[in-house]
Structure formats: C-alpha cells, structure tokens
C-alpha cells in the first residue's frame, strides 16, 4: 500500500482495471457538469459590452485552457518517459496529443466565430491567435513525427524530445496578450481577483470543470486504446515467433 500511485500504475493490467472502473464515473460527472454549465451559460445575464456574443466565451475559454493543459500533459508525460522511463508515460503522451489538438482546433474555431462579430474579422495575425495556431501545428507535428518513424521506441523518444522543446509555446501564449494584442488580457487566471463578473464567472467555471473532466475521460479512454493496440502488436509478434519455431523468445 505504501507504493506510490505512479509506481502502482506502471503495470498496464492494473491501469486497465483502475481506468475501467474510473472512466464511467468521470464521464458521468462530466456530462452532468456540462448539462448544468450549458443551462447556466444560456441563462446568464448579457455582457454589458458584447451582449449575446459573449456566450461563445463559455466554450471558447475552457477549450483554450485545455489546449494548453493538453500540451503540458504531453510534455510532462514525455519527461516521465525520458527521465523516469515510466512504462505508461509514452502511452499517456501519445494519447494526449490528438485530444489536445482537437481542443486547440475548437479554441481556434470558436475564437474565430467570436472574433468576427466583435473585431470584424475571423482571423488576424495577432500574437495570441498566432501562438495558438503554432500550438496546433506543434500538436500536428508531434503526431506526424511519431507516425513517420517505424521503430516505436525511437519514435517515442524523438517525439518526447520535440514536445519538451515545444513547451516554450505555453509561456508565449500566456504572455502574448501583453504584446500589442487585440485579444483581451486574462480575466480569470491572473494575479489578484478575477475581473469578470460573478454571474458570468460561475457558468464559465462549471463549463471549464465539465470540459476538463471530459478531457480526462478522453485521455483515459485513449490510453486504454493505446494499451490494447500494443497488446495486439505483442500478440501478433508472439504468434509469428511461435509459428516460426521461436516460441522461446518473449513477445515484448
């Protein structure tokens, strides 16, 4: 019992048992929070400046937070692979990348749809928008690099290295609003109290909690799928070895 959680989860079998038990609960909590969050979002008072258009904030801002959270998760997992060689670290990094990319795409799409009525343009080469676009391209680059290398162990290490180098994009995104940007500065995650009114902050936080739980559910499910994929590969290798009379050699 004294074994650290990370060490106990190093066994894929134990991870599959625990994640199989957790996944329905996380999904249910996420669904509940999102239903309540959507109701609160559409019944929230109008923003005094932006009117109804500010409702896009309730999906755009959580997507933006999670696009960065997803990349931090990829980088942390990559660190776990390169430094601690944790057996599930690469599974976690690989699973998080497409989910992070999807949330970044969602952030860009909803931001664009919010930008048009407020700024008069779907897209401007603004520091915040451009740095988030680079984050999206970085996710795509990580996935492309991994899939372009046949040797999975080498692909994992090179992808991990790139993701650690790419983490520089996170502070760039965070501080880009201070660099002559059209984008508004942080109004929730900032030093001091949030500048957003409580009647708009509450639905935003509920939506953010729901979408975070959804992200975690997606990540757990993607990790389970990746473990199954590796099991299929190991079984196929073992089958080939057995049929070639090499059954004495272990299949990974």
């Amino acid at each position: 019992m004294s074994m650290p959680l990370a060490q106990r989860l190093a066994n894929p079998k134990r991870f599959m048992e625990l994640s199989g038990w957790l996944l329905p609960w996380i999904s249910a909590v996420s669904a509940g929070l999102l239903v309540v969050g959507l109701y609160m979002s559409f019944t929230a008072p109008l923003d005094y400046q932006q009117g109804h258009a500010a409702k896009i904030m309730f999906v755009h801002v959580p997507a933006a937070w999670l696009s960065m959270f997803g990349y931090a998760l990829v980088a942390l997992s990559s660190f776990g692979l390169l430094v601690f060689r944790h057996p599930l670290a690469d599974v976690s990094a690989k699973a998080a990348a497409p989910i992070g990319a999807a949330f970044t795409l969602l952030c860009l799409l909803t931001g664009s749809l919010w930008g048009k009525p407020m700024w008069g343009a779907f897209w401007v080469w603004d520091p915040r928008l451009t740095s988030v676009l680079i984050l999206f391209l970085l996710y795509l680059g990580l996935m492309a690099l991994r899939s372009s290398i046949e040797d999975e162990a080498l692909a994992a290490k090179l992808t991990a290295l790139l993701s650690l180098v790419g983490i520089v994009i996170l502070p760039v995104i965070k501080f880009s609003v201070d660099w002559n940007s059209l984008h508004q500065p942080a109004s929730v995650m900032r030093l001091g109290a949030p500048t957003i009114h409580a009647s708009l902050l509450r639905p935003l936080l509920v939506m953010a909690a729901g979408m975070t739980m959804l992200f975690l559910a997606f990540h757990l499910k993607a990790m389970r799928n990746e473990i199954l994929r590796r099991r299929v590969r190991a079984l196929r290798t073992f089958e080939v070895q057995a049929s070639a009379g090499l059954a004495g050699q272990p299949a990974e």
């Binding site: 894929p12 079998k13 599959m16 048992e17 199989g20 559409f42 109008l46 009117g51 109804h52 258009a53 409702k55 896009i56 999906v59 755009h60 997507a63 989910i99 999807a102 949330f103 795409l105 969602l106 799409l109 909803t110 749809l113 919010w114 048009k116 009525p117 959804l214 997606f218 499910k221 993607a222 389970r224 799928n225 199954l228 994929r229 099991r231 299929v232 190991a234 079984l235 196929r236 073992f238 089958e239 057995a242 272990p250 299949a251």
Partner: protein, 57 residues
C-alpha cells in the same frame, strides 16, 4: 430563445464544439472496439503472452 443579432455565430460555435467533441467520442469508442475485437480474436486462436496469461480488459 433570443440570441440577438449574432445568433448565427453563437450557434455555429456551439455546433462546432458539439461536432468536435462528438467526433472525438466516436473515434475513441470505435478505436477501442476495434482493438478489443483484435485482442479477442488473437486470444481465441490461442495466442497468449506467457508473462500475463489472463490480462484484464
């Protein structure tokens, strides 16, 4: 529900969110099912890893 003059942008944003998230759900569920059926198929043929003969799903 009155969503003001920008209702098309609001509905498209929420629609895009629903589409992206539903797409992720569909991909994850189908991918999981595909790999689970491959594992089942291989195990039904008697292929097992000796290190873990009865791994959990």
């Amino acid at each position: 529900m009155d969503l003001g003059p920008h209702f098309a942008f609001i509905l498209t944003a929420y629609g895009a969110a629903a589409l992206v998230l539903a797409g992720l759900v569909a991909w994850l569920v189908l991918d999981g099912r595909r790999h689970q059926s491959l594992v089942d198929e291989l195990e039904a043929r008697g292929v097992r890893r000796r290190s873990s003969p009865s791994e959990s799903r």
